[in-house]
């Protein structure tokens, strides 16, 4: 069986009608044709073109298109800080935190710099909108603005976010897996919510490419802490129950976000996708889905990073390419054996869940629960539980 690991441009070529190229039955490829659906910052939208409004995604608007909606929201909560990110860029390039409209003014003047923005005064924004006003919203110039999580959970006084890897082998029915070896990325500078520090990106942005430029960056560990360590710390200091709840919520949020876009994705059976999910945990231990990356960085900054990414690739291949010879065809049922999962855990398998529901109906009559079963006898459970 062949497998193709392609960049965004090659994917376009592969799937474009003009190229006339068709994938054969024994070829798999690492993206879905319209995989950007979930991942471009401005495209986290549902079928109607609205932003997915889920209570675990910070409130988000597009600028300049949604400017009026944003102003309305801004007036409701004038003391909130907002974060502005350019669409279609990654690794923290061009992100601002704005909490005064004057800041936004300044940004519009020297806008071509790098810019993360926190907004909290409307005047800044108005000015900005006038200046850039009503230029057609090409992706180059559009920004998303979302509510900034200003009460992040701090460990050792520092802010961090989580990078988790999620493998999707099919959207309809949804089949997805969560990788156990994710990591937390730490800022090098102590967190400080005060307005004076809004410009200090080493305080607010966890992106390794930003932190790397700081003088306190440590190349040995690169500010990366494994999720297992974080779990151990939370269980030790906060208790097992709340920790389990946090990770359960993260899992459900991931499933829900995938469910929300699954209708839009052209579900090609040659395709699989490895997403990088970014979560921020706030000080009430509530996770917030910040961003989804379709091409998470696979370069490594440290040696343990390299080991982890090798493992990720290894385990991923084991899942997308069936190990049993006779199944070497993309039409297999995509239910890998449990022992082939490696460090992946099954997040959700819609097909199995439906079967479960059917079985349950037979057993219990209508209204049987799909979630939270405790039946150990089933060979492959439909969720991680």
């Amino acid at each position: 069986m062949d497998w193709i690991w392609a960049g965004v441009q090659s994917i376009r070529n592969v799937f474009s009608i003009d190229s006339g190229y068709r994938l054969t039955d024994d070829q798999v490829i690492n993206h879905f044709p319209n995989h950007v659906e979930l991942t471009r910052k401005d495209l986290m939208k549902d079928e109607n073109g609205r932003f997915i409004h889920l209570d675990f995604i910070p409130l988000t608007f597009m600028l300049p298109a949604d400017y009026n909606l944003f102003v309305e929201e801004f007036r409701k909560n004038p003391n909130t800080t907002w974060i502005m990110k350019p669409c279609g860029k990654a690794r923290g390039i061009g992100i601002f935190l704005v909490n005064k409209l004057s800041q936004l003014k300044k940004w519009s003047r020297d806008t071509r710099g790098i810019g993360i923005f926190l907004v909290n005064k409307l005047s800044q924004l108005r000015k900005w909108s006038q200046k850039t006003n009503f230029t057609p919203p090409t992706s180059k110039d559009t920004y998303v603005i979302s509510k900034y999580i200003d009460n992040p959970l701090l460990i050792g006084g520092k802010k961090f976010d989580l990078r988790l890897y999620v493998l999707v082998t099919s959207f309809r029915p949804l089949k997805c897996y969560m990788y156990r070896l994710g990591f937390a990325r730490f800022c090098t500078v102590k967190y400080n919510a005060s307005v004076n520090e809004l410009d200090n990106m080493f305080v607010h942005l966890t992106n390794v490419s930003i932190q790397k430029q700081g003088e306190d960056y440590n190349a040995v560990h690169g500010g990366k802490w494994t999720v297992q360590n974080m779990r151990l710390f939370l269980e030790g200091t906060r208790g097992k129950e709340v920790t389990d709840k946090l990770f359960d919520e993260i899992n459900w949020q991931t499933v829900h976000s995938l469910k929300a876009v699954s209708g839009n994705i052209s579900n090609d059976r040659h395709c699989f996708e490895c997403y990088g999910y970014d979560y921020i945990v706030d000080d009430n231990l509530k996770p917030w889905l910040i961003e989804v990356n379709a091409s998470p960085s696979l370069t490594s900054t440290t040696s343990s990073d390299r080991i982890m990414k090798y493992r990720l690739m290894n385990d991923l291949i084991n899942i997308v390419i069936p190990l049993v010879r006779c199944l070497s065809d993309v039409r297999w049922n995509k239910i890998p054996q449990k022992e082939h999962l490696g460090y992946f855990d099954l997040l959700f398998d819609e097909e199995l869940a439906q079967q479960d529901a059917l079985n349950m109906d037979k057993k219990l009559g209508p209204g049987g629960m799909v979630r939270g079963r405790k039946d150990g006898s089933r060979p492959s459970p439909a969720t991680w539980k």
């Binding site: 460990i155 050792g156 006084g157 520092k158 730490f186 500078v189 102590k190 306190d216 440590n218 040995v220 560990h221 500010g223 990366k224 802490w225 494994t226 297992q228 360590n229 151990l232 710390f233 269980e235 030790g236 200091t237 208790g239 097992k240 129950e241 920790t243 440290t302 343990s304």
Partner: protein, 526 residues
Amino acid sequence: MTDPNLSKIFMQTLIEDLKSSKIYTDLQNAAQIEITKPGVRLSELKKGVQAGLIHSYETKVTIPSNTTRTYQRTPSLSQKSSEPKLQYPVTPPEHAKEPLLYLRKAQHAWEKRILKSLNSMCTELNIPLARKRPEKEQKEMNSKWTELGVEGPDLTQIRPVYAPKDFLEVIVGIQNPNYHGDNNGFFPLWGIVQVPVKVKSINLLRLQYSEMAINQCQSGIDDSTDIPSELFDLDRIVNANHGPVAQEFSKKGCPSGLRATLWAQMLCVEVDDVDKLYYEQLKTSVLNHDLLVDSLLYKDVKLTATNDDQYFVFEDFLYQVLLPFSRDTFVLNHFSQNSATPPKSYIRGKLGVEEFSVLYPPNGVIPFHGFAMYVAPLCYLYNDPVILYYVFREIYTRYFYRLHSISSHHQGIVALSLLFEVLLQTHEPELFFHLKTVGCQPLKIAFKWLVRAFSGYLSSDQVLLLWDRILAYNSLEILPVLAVAIFSFRKTNLLKVQSYNAAEAVLADLTTLQVIPLIQLSLFSK
């Protein structure tokens, strides 16, 4: 305690000790309140007060049950001030610290060496052992107390006073003068530790660690299957707040969510307002004076924890524990059972004059390379630096001080090293012989593990599972058992190596190991 005189002395000491404790004042206050209550008759004062106390104070009397346990601890580990001074037989204090003269001498010489290298560093770099901080500097330090790692002192010239490797050389060099030094003598040891201390056989260890047997459920391995009825029991254990109960339970490992509580119970650490105040005082003395040991501690954190991908997030916590620790004179108490003696320094110009001597550092402990790693794993359990501090202090003064002082105690580093060698010789003779022939004495690799209690070598969760057992079994002997288990586990590869470096490479990364199954394997499967 069959001798009535003896028990009387014990009682007196105990009462003396209780008088200086917090429960005593609490009870006294409560008694005074009882007296003023109407309905207490003068003729039945004693009875009335007692009854009232029992009635109103019942909850409080049961809670400190853990405090009383401080006095029930095994005498071997905690001959604290509560140990009464007996009239007979009189043992000189240095014998109580270490009965064997040649070990006492060795420890003394080692201390002198450490002090000398400390002093020479002072002279070389022209920095004082201590100096008062100017007011401005004090304020500045106070304002960034929680982020001391950002701008520490200049450390380029500072080097650790010693590393486990240097200490191993000293231990290897110790000879028992009562034996003939030639290898054909009647005490031929394959290993490099030549001190004839009695160590336990594997059978005794099996008995000691019988709760770790393979047929017993262990936390961290077998707990993937939840049994709800056990949760109920767990609550009862935690609520009992009784050290021995916590200890008995923890023999099979602590569940990660309850470890912080159970450890505090086993160590009798209950932080109250007085303790918080005491910590603040220690902090003030850190702010007031700049000591050379501070730089040593800083340097150590920077060399170890800061670069460790498991512990780097806790860097600032470590300073908040280690710096006050160096000022804490309470730590001096443990020297009554430690073979080491706190080093002395003299006020400038008064060298050698006893009246002008001060203990340096104030807690008497000179940190070595890796000292910060005794604290680092605890950061996974306690988010509050004050609790973290007291738990660390208790663990150190109960257990870890033995890992870097020369003594004949069965939990001292000498006995642990010997136990490691003897166990490995007995159970893996082929491996031991092979390594010895290619010039790689196993202890040369394992020694650093033992000195650091494996902290920084294993993955963080495994260190905690291991330390569970240290606290629960009240013994450090689990360390050499694990070291032997690791050698057995990597035996196939070790038998192929032909040099010290190759062997070290085989054992360089221990982060993938699961310690409890390994220990079970080497203790119970042969």
